[in-house]
């Protein structure tokens, strides 16, 4: 990376081998079945796990097919930036793609997509977190995509929410993310990287990608992103499909949380003897 004295420098410029590849990369074309043989509205197998980062207050790891995401939550901690006193807590999110997470090597410094993603995840989580529970302090959520095989943003949202829950940050609800790729008539749930919407390889008519973040038990949408062009009805339909997708992932997340809670059992007696000074109840 030129001009960065804080890292070991490589050659001035280098090209990924696949630029010179004879055979062009293949994309999922409109019509026809999906490469991994899924039905249009099937999810890929989901794996969730909590407590993967020992140093963090809470953390989670998620796999959706080949997509791998890890999230760590720190805090509530002191507000890092000098700011005026606030009775509400602050939530901060940082989404990062590992340099080796994509076909094309990514740079170390945050790029536009990461900045945009960080904001979307933040706005997806904010409605779910009881910010008034930690005045003048902040909770930091760091998310790293280790491998992007599609629907990374959706995975990031789910994973981050699970991390928050694992950290014991008070929340009104968890958040589940899910994406849909609209390609002409076809509507693929939880698209893989080959199916994902890429402007440079796009078919005519309806095309685009919708990502939704859902608070499943309150049935509220906390994130909604559409890239591409869709007819109004298709858009609405796509959002509906996403929501059903989220509802499909929710039970898996729930099970993961329940089992992880069981794993580190608190002895209730000792806990209920817990000081009552902070025993104020949470009205909304």
């Amino acid at each position: 990376m030129p001009g960065d004295s804080r890292r070991i420098a490589g050659p001035q410029d280098s090209r990924a081998p696949h630029w010179f590849g004879r055979q062009q990369e293949t994309h999922q074309e409109a019509g026809g079945t999906r490469q991994d043989g899924r039905g249009d509205h099937d999810l890929r197998p989901v794996y969730l796990h909590t407590g993967v980062v020992s140093q963090a207050t809470g953390s989670a790891y998620m796999e959706m097919g080949q997509t791998k995401v890890i999230a760590a939550v720190y805090g509530p901690r002191e507000i890092s930036r000098r700011e005026e006193f606030t009775m509400k807590g602050r939530l901060c999110c940082e989404l990062k793609f590992a340099t080796f997470s994509c076909r094309q090597r990514r740079q170390h410094i945050q790029d536009n997509q990461e900045r945009d993603g960080s904001l979307i995840v933040l706005q997806a989580l904010e409605p779910a977190v009881c910010l008034d529970k930690f005045p003048k302090s902040q909770v930091d959520v760091y998310i790293t995509v280790l491998q992007d095989d599609g629907s990374a943003l959706a995975a990031a949202i789910t994973c981050a929410a699970l991390g928050l829950a694992d950290a014991g940050v008070m929340m009104y609800d968890v958040v589940v993310g899910c994406s849909v790729r609209q390609c002409g008539e076809d509507q693929w749930l939880d698209p893989s990287v080959r199916e994902e919407f890429r402007p440079e390889v796009e078919s005519a008519g309806d095309h685009g990608m919708v990502t939704v973040g859902l608070l499943p038990s309150l049935n509220q949408v906390s994130a909604l992103v559409l890239d591409g062009h869709l007819q109004q009805q298709t858009a609405v339909q796509a959002v509906k499909t996403c929501i059903s997708g989220c509802q499909g992932i929710y039970p898996i997340l729930k099970d993961c949380l329940v089992s992880s809670t069981r794993r580190n059992v608190p002895s209730l007696e000792q806990k209920s003897g817990q000081t009552s000074t902070d025993g104020q109840n949470g009205q909304t």
């Binding site: 004295s5 804080r6 890292r7 070991i8 420098a9």
Partner: protein
Amino acid sequence: MATEQTLRSFGCEQNLLSRPDGSANFTQGDTTVLAAVYGPGEVKMSEEIIDKATLRVIFKPKVGLPGCAEKFQERVLRNTCESVVLATLHPRSAINIILQIIQDSGSLLSCCVNAACVALMDAAVPMKCLVSAVTCALTEEGQIVLDPDSKQEKESSAVLTFAFDSRENNVITCSTKGCYTPEQYQESLSACREASKNISSFFRQAVEKRMSKELKVKT
């Protein structure tokens, strides 16, 4: 195994800068390092340590911007100084050591350590003991060359640098390049240790030179 038991001629000058609290110029052969020490002075809030002084080493290469390699050296030098300085005597203060490379013709690291040590003494920063460093090179034939110049370093199969404390002559710091056997390591180590004694005794002479006036004057 044969050893070239000679160090290049080395010398030092103290107190040649007026602004710092202490300064020294150390030369080994043609390798020259100018060290300046500021402190114990005011410390940045972010770097404050409640029960001891914050040591910082700034390693200024002769040319070019400092990068990872320099940071690496800074860390080695800082830790080396930390292990002899009694930092707990000046809590919540900063001691800054600036090392300006005047010329590098071999054995740079050891020269830096020695320069820093003299500068710390000159600034009268309290120290447990002194630290003296010696570099040696292993030739392809496995011969040990003490205090090598850059040419000898380039030709060698490995370069080892040791820093010793002046009390028990144990190894405070060790940094090596290249490959070598454990036996070679031990031999180099003892060779360097012997040589380091000359340097520590040289430190005493340096102080006597500096104090000569007072020694004469009896108030």
